[in-house]
């Protein structure tokens, strides 16, 4: 008799537990579209250098564990974007020698300061060691990219990044790597974990 009672208590407890699980499941929001994303298509990026950036994305996405759709495959989402900056001749000015500078009203003497070509807050006042104010131009490459992942007209992720380097390849590689890392953090490759 008491054995029956214990059995009933166990049955009631188990069913109550199941009910509570079922009600908890009902509260969970439906799976996000991102959780179904396994295969990405990469659309050619707009702007100068777009083809190079697109190729770099395909390589970096595969390296990060994403599956990239071929030409005739239906992808779960589309990676698209534009190249905002792709230039090798971003100029910087290097003043040679001890140079008196004025930055935001503060005067300072800096040895061989380097300043951006336009919009610099530094105003060189002329080196203390020479009346000729000698300077040289230095150049660097800059690549800037905006990217977004779109599925069924919904933007699932978006980010932009720019990077400076001595030449295109390094800058492009760094930008694409940073964006793929950002994407993979927001939406882990292969869907829900």
């Amino acid at each position: 008799m008491s054995g029956h009672r214990v059995t009933w208590v166990v049955v009631l407890l188990v069913s109550a537990g199941l009910c509570s699980c079922a009600s908890h499941q009902a509260v969970v929001s439906p799976p996000k579209p991102a959780e179904r994303i396994r295969l990405l298509a990469v659309q050619p990026f707009d702007g100068s250098g777009g083809a190079d950036v697109t190729r770099e994305f395909v390589v970096a996405l595969k390296a990060a564990g994403w599956a990239v759709a071929g030409k005739n495959q239906n992808a779960d989402a589309l990676l698209t974007g534009s190249v905002n900056d792709y230039s090798t001749n971003h100029k910087l000015m290097v003043f040679l020698g001890e140079t008196n500078t004025l930055t935001n009203g503060k005067a300072a003497t800096v040895s061989n300061p380097i300043v951006t070509g336009n919009g610099s807050q530094i105003l060189p006042q002329g080196p203390t060691t020479s009346v000729n104010n000698p300077h040289l131009v230095s150049e660097r490459a800059v690549v800037g990219v905006s990217a977004r992942l779109v599925s069924q007209r919904t933007t699932l992720w978006g980010d932009d990044f720019s990077y400076e380097s001595l030449e295109f390849a390094s800058a492009r590689q760094a930008v694409v790597f940073a964006l793929v890392r950002s994407l993979s953090r927001a939406l882990p490759p292969g869907g829900s974990q």
């Binding site: 770099e56 390589v59 970096a60 390296a63 910087l92 290097v94 040679l96 020698g97 500078t101 930055t103 935001n104 503060k106 300072a108 800096v110 040895s111 061989n112 300061p113 380097i114 300043v115 951006t116 919009g119 610099s120 807050q121 530094i122 000729n132 000698p134 040289l136 131009v137 230095s138 150049e139 660097r140 990077y163 400076e164 380097s165 001595l166 030449e167 390094s170 590689q173 760094a174 790597f177 940073a178 890392r181």
Partner: protein, 165 residues
């Protein structure tokens, strides 16, 4: 007859000493590309190098700055200038050597740290690049370039090695 004699006397008495003086002064002040080399000629090559760089004649600038560097190996400005021109000519070994030398000669050379940081990054020497960016942050007052340096530091610290495609 009297006039000719007078003219000869004037020439002998005034013009010749003046001509001598002019010649001697000319020897002293004129720019001379002569041997043997001296610190003065290093400065001349340095100035010529900067002038060629301004004209966009980088190969000539490079040659002049190399000569300046040979004649005066202890001037950090010459080493930096040669490093910059070598970098623009993609002679990265020469650039790195001279930029590092400019820092050895002047530990506060802000531009040298900036350019070395980019060079080290290109060669995947992340630790050295980080050191250079941090030193650059301490020295250079340009806020725009400081932001750039912080971005590079963050990128390098979060990812020491960029995968090669």
């Amino acid at each position: 007859m009297g006039n000719e004699q007078w003219a000869r006397r004037v020439r002998e008495s005034l013009l010749l000493p003046i001509a001598h003086c002019a010649f001697v002064i000319g020897l002293v002040i004129a720019p001379v590309n002569a041997d043997p080399p001296s610190a003065g000629s290093a400065a001349n090559h340095y100035q010529a190098g900067l002038a060629y760089e301004r004209l966009g004649r980088l190969q000539e600038a490079y040659t002049q700055l190399q000569l300046a560097c040979v004649l005066d190996a202890n001037d950090p400005r010459i080493a930096l200038a040669l490093g910059i021109v070598a970098l623009r000519l993609t002679r990265e070994d020469v650039a790195q050597r001279n930029l590092e030398r400019s820092i050895t000669l002047d530990a506060n050379s802000a531009a040298s740290y900036y350019l070395l940081a980019l060079l080290y990054e290109k060669h995947k020497a992340s630790d050295r690049a980080l050191d250079s960016w941090n030193r650059f942050l301490e020295l250079n007052p340009d806020e725009q370039l400081k932001l750039e340096a912080r971005k590079h530091i963050h990128f390098l610290e979060s990812n020491k090695v960029v995968p090669v495609s």
